[in-house]
């Protein structure tokens, strides 16, 4: 029996990722967002990332990913043969004994370190199951990446990405950005080739997104920055605060200028405390 052909007009478009879904679907196939909720947008234009319902399944390639738990969500991936995912190795929660592991060769030879450990990207290959989680309360942000998309992500915010997405990292330009940007020296950059892929980020607290028009700017607490389209530029702006004593003090904010999307997290790490 052939599957009934669906009327393209009857498809439900996901408000979050614009993915097309069957009329019977309750959550988006590619990002897991519930399809019955409207876009939640604040008066100032920030869109709240949808809370993914417990046990929602997301599909990529031949594999599925199930998002479990709502306090500190777990992403559990059932890898199909031939599919693979990559991640920083400290986010692995559990795996089947038989899932093979390799390392992603990083180009550039720039030495990056994380908590005193060399920065390495691990790859898990299908078939088999592997699960990931992080160390604090937050949300899983599922970003399906369509061909030709380029996304910059705060360092160490990536939870896991599918093999269709190419990984690289860029050095944050300018000493001031490095010193006062509160994001370290690097940003992860994800680029899709010909095939769509999925990228899962973990944001601390709640996650909000806003689309900036060309030339439109917003100033962010640097620790709150989570991701941006690569078309969005980032620079540090220092604000002088006068206290009346000894010339006052200053604070640093990240100035994001459009066009493109900017994502933030509400529970940020203040760079002075890092």
């Amino acid at each position: 029996m052939t599957e009934p052909r669906l009327d393209p007009l009857q498809r439900i478009r996901c408000e979050w990722c614009q993915g097309q879904n069957e009329p019977t679907a309750v959550s988006c196939r590619s990002c897991g967002a519930p399809l019955d909720v409207k876009n939640l947008v604040s008066d100032s234009g920030w869109r709240e990332a949808p809370r993914i319902k417990d046990m929602t399944e997301i599909h990529f390639g031949g594999s599925t990913c199930q998002v479990e738990g709502e306090i500190v969500p777990v992403a559990e991936i059932n890898l199909a043969p031939g599919d693979s995912v990559y991640f920083e190795h400290h986010v692995m929660l559990w795996k089947d004994e038989a899932v093979p592991m390799t390392l992603l060769p990083l180009t550039g030879g720039v030495k990056r370190a994380f908590a005193g450990m060399p920065f390495l990207i691990s790859v898990a290959h299908g078939p088999g199951r592997i699960a990931f989680s992080r160390d604090a309360t937050g949300e899983l942000v599922v970003l399906p990446l369509h061909p030709g998309m380029e996304l910059d992500v705060r360092e160490h915010a990536m939870l896991v990405a599918s093999h269709q997405i190419a990984y690289s990292f860029i050095r944050i330009k300018g000493l001031r950005n490095i010193l006062f940007g509160g994001q370290g020296m690097f940003m992860d950059r994800f680029v899709t080739g010909g095939e769509p892929g999925v990228l899962l980020l973990h944001g601390y607290g709640n996650v909000f997104e806003r689309t900036l028009k060309a030339g439109e700017s917003i100033l962010l607490e640097p620790g709150a920055f989570l991701y941006k389209d690569s078309s969005v530029t980032m620079e540090v702006e220092t604000q002088k605060l006068s206290t009346g004593f000894f010339g006052g003090t200053s604070m640093n904010l990240a100035k994001m200028t459009g066009p493109g999307r900017v994502g933030i997290q509400s529970m940020y790490v203040h760079h002075a405390a890092e």
């Binding site: 969500p73 929660l93 060399p118 989680s133 604090a136």
Partner: protein
């Protein structure tokens, strides 16, 4: 219509049998008629609990309040008692007596950084407990003769029917950096072992993040991150497992491209939490370790 007395309901989480009339399980507080939420890979998620769910133990009951950082609010009947580590006490009625509980081998626990003093409270009266992180409260009703091994520092409160002991984890590795040798215990030096020798008891644990449990068949294994381990049945065996990924070049050296896992081998129940601490010493040069298996991809 079937008579209430003819009906039988088994809680999918803790196995307590009731006639199905209470709205939540009197053993663990899980909503009645909740379906066990099992992931595709076979982990059961700790089911949601109605805010203000009541658990029964002895003649006393415990109400679990709040869902973000839950509070266990105990209403102790005369003659019933609970014990706890003193830092989890949230509030109490003035008449509730709090005394210390003698612990054997106290110096060993001090060495391992575990709470040296266990305090106990006696009814009648109200006393409440909570922890310092968002997470879930796990109610483990222990039937007569049942034991459970719990990772240290997760224990919130136990009822007086539950006996408390500790065992060596037997999981360690030694690292060397220069002249410095350090021993690391990924699960801590000791596991808390709780047993209900004579009577049914209640044990409350607090885990960070979400909690998942699965039943391992005899001989079945699963690899978990050592710091995410929560509790296990005493029948479950565990040991370290080193895995080396396939690499095309090696230039980083120090870390040795190695993943450190904890293998859990059935039969029995095992549980993990979704939040974990970073494993200390993992990146250092490991000189010796407790029994471990190796896998080179």
């Amino acid at each position: 219509m079937a008579d209430r007395a003819d009906r039988e309901y088994t809680c999918p989480w803790c196995g307590t049998r009731t006639d199905g009339s209470p709205l939540s399980c009197p053993g663990c507080g899980v909503k009645t008629d909740v379906r066990a939420v099992v992931t595709n890979s076979g982990w059961t998620q700790l089911p949601g609990r109605r805010d203000m769910a009541k658990l029964q133990f002895g003649n006393s009951y415990c109400q679990i309040e709040g869902t973000y950082v839950p509070v266990a609010d105990m209403s102790l009947a005369a003659g019933d008692g609970v014990y706890f580590a003193h830092h989890v006490l949230l509030w109490k009625d003035p008449p509730v007596q709090v005394t210390t509980m003698p612990l054997k081998g106290a110096w060993k626990r001090l060495l391992a950084g575990m709470p040296l003093i266990m305090t106990q409270a006696h009814g009648p009266g109200h006393i409440a407990f909570s922890r310092d992180a968002p997470g879930e409260m796990i109610a483990l009703p222990l039937s007569r003769g049942q034991s459970v091994d719990v990772r240290e520092h997760l224990f919130l409160v136990g009822t007086h029917q539950v006996a408390y002991d500790w065992i060596d984890t037997g999981i360690w590795f030694q690292t060397k950096s220069g002249d410095e040798t350090e021993t690391h215990y990924p699960l801590g030096m000791f596991l808390d072992r709780f047993t209900a020798p004579q009577d049914h008891g209640l044990l409350l644990l607090h885990a960070a993040g979400n909690v998942f449990v699965r039943e391992l068949a005899p001989g079945q294994t699963i690899l978990v991150k050592p710091t995410s381990f929560l509790f296990k049945d005493p029948s479950v065996q565990m040991h370290l497992h080193f895995e080396r990924p396939q690499v095309s070049w090696r230039s980083w050296g120090a870390w040795g491209e190695r993943y450190l896992w904890l293998t859990l081998r059935g039969p029995g129940r095992v549980a993990v939490q979704s939040v974990f601490e970073r494993l200390e010493g993992e990146h250092l040069n490991i000189q010796s370790h407790s029994h471990a298996t190796h896998r080179q991809w």
